[in-house]
């Protein structure tokens, strides 16, 4: 059965390359549902019997003399559950998004195949093969953007990540002479340390942790939003999958710690995560390009996962996985919303948008829900995730990380409101904008569903990740359907929601007690000036957070991107200098030959 899924994905990828875009979307949509079917079937392994098709849970592929081991584990099942649903949704969204078929669907199906492969692979070789396959298929998707910065930065960072991972794999293979993941436990000492560290560095590129994030803003802001939704929602989680796999499932933490005992490697990861969360949030607040804002917000939100992994207690890891799950969905919604906005208006600059909420109410509602989740408002599942990480930080007395993390959480309100106000509220500047096509709306609301389910039942989410935690030797934290309990406090979702409902009653009475009249946007207080006279611009969206910018920008100016640019320029200069040698004149080459001979002769004489 499993080989059939792999085969059909390849076949579907080939077919969708040649057919029209609508047909391609339909084929891709149904084909990408099949891996989900396998996931549902495997759910019975972890105590959720839903369907029973008898899909085998492991497989071996014999490829050119090597054996690739594929099998499902609790961890990959959980991560598959958060990444794979994005694919059919994106296909559904893309049904009316693309005007022509230029290979998007084929490449997305290849990415799906690669993602599925990465999650299933049980040895280093298949992991690396599928990782490269995913990197290259996503690189070709990035290449469609035709933006030099995006393509180059993605290429350079992907190659760097691939080398780091390959380096780690080679060391492990050299030490261990086995490629099976389960054999990594055998190694220790310096080689083990270097191998794990370089693997984590490689994954950190895809997980966009702060110093290695420089590619993300370019790529996220220049590619098709439907692809970026996968990139931000899904692909970044693969980086965290790799981290979790090597750090916790395979006890990489102990290997790191056993070699250098005086440095807390966990804490270092948490610090990097906290800095990501803090600085990316501040930068996101000051952005004007909607996609760039979302890109930096993505880096910030992913930082929380890194913090969770860094803290490393079961509580923190539960929070991190919860956050990863939420982030996959709400960030996908937000990027797809940006796609809808661009599809309908052709604009990305927030200062040029505005007032779309009444024109596209359903898009607005989905975006609102995603933003509530992003800002961790307790009426979405976003809160429980961040709460768990906060609790973990307090429990471990991480006094440096906890305030940074909390203030980054407050910063999220600022850029959330920037999106809400700049894009959806305020002055309407687009008269002939319609609601998005039905397929896009459907895609958005499918993604909203889990956010709504897991706010009522945060306990179910903990149940879902329980097998993965147990496989890594961690205890699941105490919870019921509605409530999560830690050693510090308790969070009861149903108490919040029911009280909110009840507290709505007086508000609703006040709302209904007196009639109101809905007036037009033009009837607005402008110090008495009638709007029709001058039709002034009413959208206060240009340079929105100016006071904050004035204070904060001097401290943000020399960012990481700046240093990467310096390195890039240095390499360029060096390459230019080397290139000067090749002047193209025969005489110069003759002189080189003569000089070289003289050098040899001189060397011989000196000896």
């Amino acid at each position: 059965m499993l080989d059939i899924i792999f085969a059909e994905l390849i076949v579907a990828a080939i077919i969708t390359f040649f057919v029209r875009e609508k047909l391609a979307a339909i084929i891709a949509f149904f084909m990408s549902l099949l891996p989900l079917l396998a996931l549902l079937d495997w759910a019975s392994n972890y105590g959720f019997a839903i369907i029973n098709l008898g899909i085998e849970s492991h497989m071996k592929i014999y490829l050119a003399g090597v054996t690739l081991h594929l099998a499902i584990t609790p961890l990959s099942w959980f991560f598959a559950l958060m990444i794979l649903p994005l694919f059919p949704v994106i296909m559904l969204f893309s049904y009316s998004f693309f005007k022509e078929n230029d290979g998007f669907f084929a490449l997305m199906l290849l990415s799906l195949l690669a993602t599925f492969g990465i999650l299933l692979s049980r040895d280093m070789l298949s992991l690396f093969l599928f990782w490269e396959m995913m990197s290259w298929s996503s690189f070709l998707l990035v290449y469609r953007s035709k933006d030099r910065n995006a393509i180059m930065s993605y290429l350079i960072f992907s190659v760097f990540a691939a080398f780091a991972i390959l380096f780690g794999i080679i060391i492990l293979w050299h030490e261990n002479s086995s490629l099976l993941l389960s054999d990594i436990l055998n190694i220790s000492g310096k080689p083990g340390f270097i191998a794990i560290a370089s693997l984590i560095t490689g994954f950190a590129v895809k997980a966009v942790i702060m110093p290695l994030h420089a590619w993300a803003p370019f790529v996220y802001s220049k590619c098709d939003e439907s692809f970026v939704a996968f990139l931000a929602g899904g692909l970044s989680k693969l980086g965290y999958y790799g981290m979790f796999l090597f750090l916790f499932s395979l006890k990489g933490v102990d290997i790191l710690q056993s070699y250098m005992t005086n440095v807390s490697w966990n804490y270092l990861l948490a610090v990097f995560g906290a800095l990501s969360a803090f600085f990316a949030t501040l930068i996101a607040i000051l952005q004007d390009d909607l996609r760039k804002l979302l890109a930096y917000s993505s880096i910030g939100q992913l930082g929380y996962i890194a913090i969770g992994f860094g803290i490393g207690t079961p509580l923190a890891i539960t929070g991190a996985l919860f956050q990863a799950f939420n982030h996959a969905f709400f960030k996908a919604i937000l990027f797809l919303t940006a796609g809808i906005v661009a599809y309908r208006t052709g604009k990305w600059k927030i200062s040029e948008l505005g007032g779309l909420a009444y024109k596209m109410p359903f898009t607005f509602m989905a975006a609102l829900f995603a933003i509530f989740a992003l800002a961790a408002i307790p009426i979405t599942s976003g809160f429980a995730a961040k709460w768990l990480i906060y609790e973990a930080a307090i429990q471990q007395k991480y006094v440096f990380i906890a305030p940074i993390m909390l203030i980054a959480g407050v910063g999220a309100f600022l850029y959330s409101f920037r999106i809400l106000y700049g894009v959806f509220l305020g002055e309407n500047r687009h008269d002939n904008v319609e609601e998005a096509p039905k397929s896009m709306i459907a895609a958005l609301f499918i993604l909203v569903m889990p956010l709504m389910i897991f706010v009522v039942f945060p306990g179910y989410m903990l149940d879902l990740m329980k097998p993965a935690l147990q496989a890594a030797g961690m205890e699941s934290i105490a919870h019921t359907k509605f409530a999560i309990e830690t050693s510090l406090a308790k969070y009861n979702s149903i108490a919040v929601l029911i009280t909110l409902m009840v507290a709505m009653i007086p508000a609703f009475i006040i709302y209904k007690a007196r009639k109101h009249r809905v007036t037009s946007f033009e009837d607005n207080y402008l110090a008495g000036e009638p709007y029709e006279l001058h039709k002034p611009s009413m959208h206060a969206a240009n340079n929105f957070y100016k006071p904050l910018k004035k204070v904060v920008l001097p401290y943000l100016e020399p960012g990481a991107t700046h240093y990467f640019e310096k390195i890039y320029n240095g390499i360029k200069c060096a390459s230019n200098a080397v290139r000067r040698v090749y002047t193209g004149y025969v005489q110069d080459y003759a002189i080189y030959v003569v000089l070289f001979l003289l050098f040899i002769v001189g060397w011989l004489i000196w000896i």
Partner: protein, 191 residues
């Protein structure tokens, strides 16, 4: 603008007495500072005369206010803004016109651009005579307005709704400086 199309007429008697008592004791004003009257407002609000002890506060926007205080003469251009502000206020709303300029043009009685009788364009609940009235006069006017509200006589906003078309016609004429033809001839003959 058609602001008042949706509002159905409602008898004042249907209002509960409590609501009237409340609105009388909490008069929030937006003072439209035209002309020289604005200078009389700071003493009214600050320590010397302290209007806040009657629940009178000044508000920043017409949406929040109950009383529109017009402090002095109005040119046609300003009248347009005053009407915009008045229509943005939420009923029940009251207008206090301030100084002789609003009553009959005052010292600008023969000016080509100053409106002479404010109540031709918006309903005025209360005039304060004087050029300029003193702060005592203003506070006295507010107390008088409270009494009128209590007795159910301050009903300018209802009048505005009822004769909306006629007010609009007057406003249109004054905005366009429109002289009717027969008027022109008649007046010429008189001369």
């Amino acid at each position: 603008m058609g602001l008042h199309n949706g509002d159905k007429m409602m008898r004042y008697e249907e209002w509960s007495k409590l609501a009237r008592k409340a609105s009388k004791k909490s008069l929030w004003m937006v003072h439209f500072c035209t002309g020289c009257g604005a200078v009389e407002m700071p003493p009214v609000m600050t320590s010397r005369y302290d209007a806040e002890r009657f629940g009178i506060t000044s508000m920043a926007t017409p949406r929040q206010a109950d009383v529109l205080l017009i402090t002095g003469y109005l040119t046609v251009k300003t009248l347009r803004r005053v009407i915009q502000v008045y229509e943005q206020m939420q009923s029940p709303k009251y207008v206090i016109a301030f100084g002789s300029c609003t009553i009959n043009g005052g010292m600008y009685w023969d000016s080509y651009n100053t409106i002479k009788h404010l109540e031709k364009y918006i309903p005025v609940d209360l005039y304060i005579a004087g050029c300029m009235p003193r702060p005592e006069g203003i506070i006295n006017a507010f107390i008088k307005l409270m009494k009128l509200i209590d007795e159910g006589k301050a009903r300018g906003w209802e009048k505005y709704q009822k004769y909306y078309d006629r007010y609009k016609e007057n406003q249109r004429r004054v905005f366009n400086f429109e002289i009717k033809e027969e008027q022109k001839e008649e007046k010429n003959e008189e001369h």
